[in-house]
């Protein structure tokens, strides 16, 4: 590692530095992923621009509409300990609390996690299932993007080098909605998931499924939205048989790799099992 380190005191100053350095610059939030990548030589920036000294990026609060806004520099544990986050969705808190260990969660940030675009991370599937969007600042102004479409490949996002995630916005959850985050961990509790399933489901008055969103982690180059499973359930009564048949469709939607956590075939099968379990939990 060998780089110049910069601590701008405003977002505008950070954007000016990123613009000046172009591809030679790299943002650092909590630093957990960036430090590891730099030490492994996978990332060799000439300039590191820290967001540490910029105020106002770490708040967590409910919105007037009943949603939740999380500042990009909020740590995972800040979400875990936030009454506002727990009041919004306990499943969201579960997803952040599932990441690694207390030490990592004290340092790693919400925005950094999304920018890192690791497909096996816990928060992105849950945020996508809850229809979260990110707010992004650049010298060209502000834009929003769905968490679901932010990652485009392994460790790759649609963000350009001069864009900074400033916050994550979660919309109000409609009454009658249930949410769940399940993480399959056959080895140790601080491991990455073999497969994870985040899902939200809302019943209509006639006990059919009014809406359902299912997003899987660790079984593709990005998080995977299980749209065929969703389509098979929407408008239907979620009987155990219907759930079993719908969950089986996920096998063709995921795109896992063979690795230490199992073969691609095994993960495909576990995606089916854990999708069925998530749906069962939401319809009990």
């Amino acid at each position: 590692m060998s780089y110049d380190y910069h601590e701008p005191h405003s977002l505008d100053d950070a954007l000016a530095l990123l613009t000046r350095f172009g591809d030679d610059g790299h943002l650092m939030a909590g630093g957990t992923a960036t430090v590891l990548l730099m030490r492994q030589g996978l990332l060799r920036p000439a300039h590191v621009v820290s967001l540490r000294t910029i105020d106002g990026l770490s708040g967590i609060a409910r919105t007037p509409q009943g949603g939740l806004r999380i500042g990009a520099m909020a740590t995972h544990r800040a979400v875990e300990r936030s009454d506002a986050a727990r009041g919004y969705s306990p499943a969201l808190v579960d997803a952040f609390a599932s990441v690694a260990t207390v030490r990592i969660r004290n340092q790693a940030t919400v925005g950094g996690n999304l920018a890192h675009a690791d497909p096996a991370q816990d928060p992105p599937p849950m945020l996508a299932a809850l229809n979260a969007t990110i707010t992004v600042r650049s010298p060209r102004g502000e834009r929003t993007e769905a968490v679901e479409t932010l990652a485009v490949d392994h460790f790759t996002t649609s963000l350009s080098h001069d864009e900074v995630i400033t916050s994550v916005l979660l919309p109000p959850i409609l009454p009658g909605t249930r949410e769940v985050y399940l993480k399959f961990l056959p080895q140790t509790a601080d491991d990455y998931a073999t497969v994870s399933v985040a899902a939200t489901l809302r019943f209509a008055d006639d006990a059919t499924v009014a809406d359902v969103r299912i997003v899987l982690g660790a079984v593709g180059p990005t998080t995977i939205r299980a749209k065929r499973v969703e389509d098979a359930l929407r408008g239907a009564r979620p009987t155990p048989e219907r759930i079993r048949d719908a969950a089986a469709l996920v096998r063709d939607e995921v795109d896992p790799l063979d690795d230490l956590r199992g073969s691609a075939d095994y993960k495909r099968e576990m995606a089916r099992v854990w999708t069925e379990r998530a749906l069962a939990a939401l319809t009990r």
Partner: protein, 172 residues
Amino acid sequence: MSTHRLRFTLNGTPRELEIAADRLLIDVIRDDCGATGTKLGCGVGICGTCSVLVDGELVSACLVPAVFVDGRSLTTVEGLAQDGELTPLQDAFIRDGGFQCGICTPGQLIAATALLREHPRPDGREVRDWMMGNLCRCTGYYGIERAIMRASGAGGQSDGRGLGGQRPPSLS
């Protein structure tokens, strides 16, 4: 590479250093400050041996850029005992056999200190969840859990499941 003036307190003592941008906290603590109680284990944030407190928050010193602690307050294992008086947790580690070879012990003590500050009366599950990221290659987990439970005022009573989640062999 840029250099940076760093001001922080280490176990209550103010420190001021000039460091290169890419220095990691673990190296500054050990090499620049000479506080070698904190050990470097895996170097990738997994094993917990380099656990330290930054403004009271538990982190892996091997993953923290040293520039991040400017203006902060650091606690390492050397900062637990006051005037030669061990903390109840340190005392419990000795009495309950909370260590074997000792390499992981500084990190275990720091992690458990953070746990007891946040959950003064943890149950066995909370202890295991919190301490899960501090590895002991001697597998001395039952003693560690017993020591933490004793220090919390639970008199060394745990639910007997141990940090590994399995029932221990009969303990004499």
